[in-house]
């Protein structure tokens, strides 16, 4: 018995790991009256995998049996692997016991399609219901919505889950046709719009009746696989921005394709496109939080994001006419667009300049990355750079350092996250 749970967990965690969304933020369930768990809207990463990804939730499949045959998936019907399934009670026990030991923030449950969509969805819902009702569990629950599941089940899922997601996986109908022939866009978008309608409805009703039960309070999300199909970044970001606007999505996750099979429909690659994935995330932040539009980041001439530099720096270099900004007078909306200044620094700048005009030293203390920002701003009319550099020189100096040290290249390319902001 014990052995089987260990074995099931190995297989069903291994098969779920390619779904990259693991956020537990946005869940707000107050622990009222001595239940288990409390979520305050800020996700916690309880561990990190060896590739540096956050481990926040117990992310597993209920089963890896599947009637579909999506080429990019380890659980596809034609793959010769061992198939197992958790019982509802096993998932509940694992979740509760992991949660009590402070291993996780909650559960992210997905599944292969067992028999049919509703049969599978019904079991996912049962796990969530049990956790909420029998165990008074207030931790985070993210349920994957099985494409084709009935509206009723989705509505019930939303009563217990903090977040629902429907994965689009491939950015165009054509790619879906090639790699996941049993799926189509309509089948994916229909549950997404059901969820959206419910979200909007509940929000409206909440205004009238405070007692309206919550529906997926952390909203819905989706995932796109990057690099398994030929779409460019412009297509991907246009889709993402459309999803944010039309489906009230909280997040779009980008998953660099990890090769799982030698299928001739898929590209043969030796490493997943991690840098590209990271650039897409950076662009996504700029769309959601910095007020950029898709067309400012990618356009017909430049349909791919620059892999060498982050999208904000790339935009600033293409738009030199906007700069330099005077940091003591520029609007907040423009300050956040300066490379080397993040949202927090921008807020600090706007707050601190009420007391006294800011100097370069102040900016450094506030946390502005001067070696990037200095080409784009002045402080009290003063510039740190005596010369007007052209785009190529600035790019080179930021990437390789100012002394023309080319050894910096590898460091700066591999150290992905140093360039964010």
């Amino acid at each position: 018995m014990q052995h089987t749970v260990i074995e099931k967990l190995s297989i069903l965690a291994d098969s779920a790991k390619y779904d990259v969304s693991c956020s537990s933020s946005g869940g707000k369930r107050k622990n009222e009256g001595k239940g288990l768990g409390n979520a305050e809207g800020m996700g916690i990463c309880h561990s990190y995998t060896e590739d540096g990804r956050c481990v926040s939730l117990l992310k597993i499949l209920l089963t890896n049996f599947c009637i579909y045959d999506c080429a990019y998936c380890v659980s596809r019907k034609s793959n010769d692997v061992k198939r197992v399934a958790f019982t509802v009670q096993e998932v509940v026990d694992l979740t509760i016991n992991f949660y009590r030991r402070n291993y996780i923030e909650g559960l992210f449950l997905s599944s292969g399609i067992f028999k049919d969509a509703d049969y599978t969805m019904e079991r996912l819902v049962r796990v969530a219901r049990k956790l909420r009702q029998e165990h008074k569990f207030n931790g985070y629950i993210h349920l994957k919505t099985i494409p084709g599941a009935s509206e009723e089940l989705i509505r019930e899922a939303g009563l217990y889950a903090d977040r629902l997601s429907v994965n689009i996986e491939l950015p165009t109908e054509a790619s879906l046709q090639t790699l996941a022939p049993e799926k189509n866009f309509t089948e994916v978008l229909t549950p997404m719009s059901h969820i959206k309608d419910q979200l909007v409805l509940v929000k409206e009703e909440k205004k009238l009746f405070k007692s309206t039960p919550a529906f997926a309070p952390a909203g819905q999300s989706t995932q796109l696989i990057v690099g398994a199909s030929p779409e460019n970044d412009r297509q991907i970001l246009t889709l993402a921005s459309g999803l944010y606007q039309n489906y009230e999505l909280k997040r779009v996750y980008y998953s660099g394709y990890v090769p799982v099979t030698a299928d001739s429909r898929l590209p043969l690659i030796s490493t997943p496109p991690i840098i590209r994935e990271n650039r897409l995330y950076q662009a996504d932040w700029l769309l959601r939080l910095y007020g950029f539009g898709v067309n400012e980041l990618v356009d017909e001439q430049n349909p791919q994001l620059d892999l060498q530099i982050d999208p904000k720096l790339a935009w600033a270099l293409r738009n030199r006419q906007v700069f330099p900004l005077e940091i003591n007078t520029a609007d907040y909306e423009m300050i956040v667009r300066v490379p080397g200044i993040g949202l927090k620094s921008a807020k600090k700048i706007v707050a601190a300049r009420r007391f006294a005009p800011l100097t370069w030293e102040h900016l450094r203390q506030i946390g502005v990355v001067l070696k990037r920002a200095k080409y784009f701003i002045t402080a009290g009319g003063r510039s740190l750079e005596r010369r007007e550099w052209d785009e190529e020189v600035i790019r080179r100096r930021i990437l390789f350092g100012e002394k023309g040290d080319r050894n910096g290249l590898w460091g700066s390319q591999l150290d992905l996250f140093s360039q964010a902001g």
Binding site: S10, S47, G52, I269, A351, F355, F417
Partner: protein, 278 residues
């Protein structure tokens, strides 16, 4: 030169502030009782803690500071690094000297920057403790987590766990500072254990105290951790940045394996003919 000492409590430190204002003798150095002054010509003042005086200083600060900045004053005390008392004092003086409120946003002032930086550092340590401590269940149903954080963050994390684990009794014990927080399903008390089992200092509870299923759940968590890893994406530098080695002692998933990890063979890839994507 004035050297003030106090009993080591936060109230004591606030009393020092009160007395310094009262006497108009600004401290050049503040230390805990028993510490020696830096110079031989110092005038030594030992200030006994007085709740009422401490309270007046705290309320005075509360009137002029945002909640976050007020918390940073407390965090500066819990930071415990050499010089933290003088830093706190210099900040308090700045606050009381400033006619307007909102002085905590004047980041051009070095002491404001420093206090904000400490606040951030303490927040990070608190956040990491909330993330990385692991409870182990004993036979009598108590969930125990041994810790020894770099800074004194236990008072900052108690509220989080009190809300989260309202239906289970727990004990979080700071081995380095020899005190803990114990929740008995009703309230949290500060406790001190006379004879601490040696293994507790190393982050492990003696096995004979543990409930029967505890090793199984620890093993299940290790199995889970091993299987969510994607070897193709390995990035040790990033891993270490998020999870610095000094926290590993708490982490069940970083403890030795009972059974070696067995990867699942679910990929069918040809060997040796990889081509790089353009």
């Amino acid at each position: 030169m004035h050297f003030y000492t106090y009993d080591g409590s936060f109230e004591g430190l606030l009393t020092v502030v009160f007395e310094a204002y009262e006497r108009k003798e600004w401290p050049d150095q503040i230390g805990k009782a028993g510490e020696a002054p830096a110079g031989i010509f110092a005038t030594h003042h030992f200030i006994p803690t007085q709740e009422a005086k401490a309270k007046r200083v705290w309320q005075g600060l509360a009137k002029k500071l945002s909640q976050a900045a007020l918390e940073n004053v407390y965090k500066t005390y819990l930071w415990e690094q050499p010089g933290c008392e003088m830093l706190l004092f210099r900040f308090v003086r700045l606050v009381f000297a400033s006619p307007q409120s909102g002085i905590e946003e004047n980041f051009a002032e070095p002491v404001v920057q420093k206090i904000a930086a400490i606040g951030k550092q303490m927040f990070r340590e608190k956040h990491r403790m909330e993330a990385f401590i692991r409870f182990q269940r004993t036979q009598d149903g108590l969930f125990v987590a041994p810790i020894n954080p770099d800074f004194n963050v236990l008072p900052l994390i108690v509220g989080h766990f009190e809300k989260r684990y309202a239906d289970q009794p727990w004990l979080i014990y700071d081995g380095r500072r020899a005190y803990g927080a114990y929740y008995d399903l009703e309230q949290v008390q500060l406790v001190s254990i006379e004879e601490l089992p040696k293994s507790l200092k190393k982050g492990q509870l003696p096995t004979d105290l543990l409930t029967e299923v505890e090793p199984l759940y620890q093993q299940l968590w290790q199995v889970y951790f091993d299987h969510v890893n994607i070897p193709e994406r390995k990035n040790r530098k990033l891993h270490l940045r998020h999870m610095p080695k000094r926290y590993w002692k708490y982490l069940t998933e970083k403890k030795p394996r009972v059974q070696a990890h067995q990867p699942i063979q679910n990929k069918q890839l040809p060997t040796g003919v990889y081509r790089l994507q353009p």
